[in-house]
């Protein structure tokens, strides 16, 4: 459909054009492979591709904002370790960045490639000796041991730069498209590392948020340590947990130790952050310097994911979950809660979601929003469903019902 001349485009034309030209691509990581779900802007009919990397755990898949056809995947296994995969054609074909398809698998001097899967902790910088331990479950000190990549955050501007949040908690960066990874040791080595401890799922750096208005500012979140912020591109870091509270910590207001489950922001207002803490939903209006509780009328303020509407910075979505140990929806009713007031006042969204006998969970990485005018909200469950709301949460429908347990959901808005 041809684009209307500038200045003559009516709202109807804009919407009609978006419906014809735009596309959404949903990247789903599951316990047994990755799936790519695509639809036009109506978000009613979906194509499902996959499983890619069948049988492997896919902790996260995310596309580059600078080159949407470039997608990075964390493929991992408790048996066989960590693999990084990359696609340069929107998920049609994949290769490991250190061993591109069709190219020699060894260097000219005979050395094997495949360095894209190697995440070696820095032992020379501030995180090296003697700071080589964190707190273990029993309170003793324990050496850092790499287990897997939980989160991949591509740069907003450079398709070759990606940040990786790993377990045991640390942040790595590649600047060569994933061929090699190097730790940013200032996070692990800034001083509080020996007080970090693993949560039930391990000690992972699970959330990385890049400030769209300040290229030097990076947020990271670790279970169970808390939120950290860098204002110099990842070289130095500081804890940002003031105002948080936890009944699981002996001190009332420690600097670190918090089991932060997720943080999110709206690109138009990056100093306002929303957080799903283990218990409590919180917000910060000063880029994490201070936090306040905004759980308000939520039926339970335990949960894992949290996200913010693409165009309404005060509209926030959470999925309350019964805890401490059940980790399924209250009363068997799967309900997303939406606040249009930046917290405290929440409404249950149920239209199209199962309201009886539903005992799935929604994991921290498994919620995302698209950028279409009528913002779409997406989430995946441990029961293998991926739901989409094309109208900002008012109504929901499953895109797929029977995938393996969903670990992560990301959305790309194309066209």
């Amino acid at each position: 459909m041809p684009r209307a001349p500038a200045g003559t485009m009516t709202l109807a034309v804009v919407i009609q054009e978006e419906l014809y030209m735009s596309q959404v691509r949903v990247l789903v990581g599951t316990k047994k492979g990755a799936f790519v779900l695509t639809s036009d802007a109506k978000r009613q009919k979906w194509d499902v591709a996959g499983p890619h990397f069948a049988g492997w755990e896919i902790y996260h898949a995310k596309g580059s904002p600078a080159d949407p056809n470039r997608i990075f995947v964390s493929q991992t296994s408790g048996w066989f370790g960590q693999i990084i995969q990359r696609s340069d054609d929107g998920g049609k074909t994949w290769h490991q960045p250190g061993t591109p398809a069709g190219q020699p698998t060894t260097t000219p001097d005979g050395m094997p490639m495949g360095e894209s899967n190697k995440f070696a902790y820095d032992t020379d910088g501030p995180a090296g000796k003697p700071l080589t331990t964190h707190q273990w479950y029993d309170g003793t000190q324990h050496p850092w041991e790499f287990k897997r990549v939980w989160h991949l955050e591509p740069s907003l501007h450079d398709p070759d730069t990606v940040y990786a949040g790993v377990e045991d908690a640390a942040i790595f960066r590649t600047t060569d498209g994933g061929k090699s990874w190097h730790e940013l040791p200032g996070l692990r080595g800034h001083g509080t590392g020996p007080k970090w401890q693993p949560g039930a799922g391990g000690m992972g750096l699970h959330t990385i948020v890049l400030d769209p208005k300040n290229t030097n500012r990076i947020f990271g979140a670790i279970s169970a340590a808390g939120v950290f912020r860098s204002d110099d591109g990842g070289q130095t870091w500081a804890p940002k947990n003031r105002g948080l509270a936890s009944k699981y910590l002996p001190e009332q207001a420690p600097e670190v130790g918090f089991c932060v489950h997720r943080i999110a922001l709206n690109a138009a207002r990056p100093n306002t952050l929303f957080m799903q803490l283990h218990w409590h939903v919180c917000r910060s209006d000063d880029a994490g310097d201070t936090w306040k509780k905004v759980s308000g009328n939520l039926p339970t303020d335990f949960g894992f994911p949290i996200d913010v509407h693409a165009h309404e910075p005060e509209t926030v979505f959470v999925v309350p979950i019964k805890s401490d140990s059940e980790h399924y929806p209250l009363d068997g009713q799967l309900r997303v809660y939406r606040s249009k007031t930046g917290g405290n006042e929440w409404e249950a969204l149920t239209n199209g979601l199962p309201q009886k006998d539903c005992y799935v969970n929604v994991l921290r990485e498994a919620m995302a929003v698209d950028q279409l005018d009528k913002c779409g909200i997406y989430f995946g469950t441990t029961g293998g469903q991926v739901y989409c709301s094309p109208d900002g949460g008012d109504s929901w429908a499953p895109i797929v019902r029977d995938l393996p347990p969903v670990y992560s959901v990301e959305v790309q808005t194309l066209g």
Binding site: A54, G78, W79, F80, G81, I83, P112, G114
Partner: protein
């Protein structure tokens, strides 16, 4: 010629349909077999042995000739039947989880 049998996940990673035949200098050992395997299939680096220490990953086992060789030192010569190709060298994912 030494025949190596890999588990499903590593066969798919290396894009293999079946077993792997490797030329390895004598005496063949776990280390020399895995060195040869990783040289031919670099994507397998880190999946059987740790990237840095080259120690066997915790949930990987080595079986051959109806014996568990997992705890043998890596430079121990492999059984003659493995070295001459009569019996395969199995890389196995330990029985744990699903």
């Amino acid at each position: 010629m030494i025949r190596v049998i890999l588990p499903f996940h590593l066969r798919t990673l290396a894009r293999l349909d079946g077993d792997v035949d490797l030329e390895v200098a004598t005496p063949a050992t776990q280390r020399s077999v895995l060195d040869a395997l990783e040289a031919r299939f670099p994507m397998l680096r880190g999946t059987i042995r740790d990237h840095g220490t080259l120690k066997r990953r915790p949930f990987i086992r080595f079986f051959a000739c109806q014996k568990d060789l997992s705890l043998d030192p890596p430079d121990t010569p492999l059984p003659e039947a493995v070295a001459n190709g009569a019996e395969p060298f199995h890389v196995v994912g330990a029985i744990a989880g699903g």
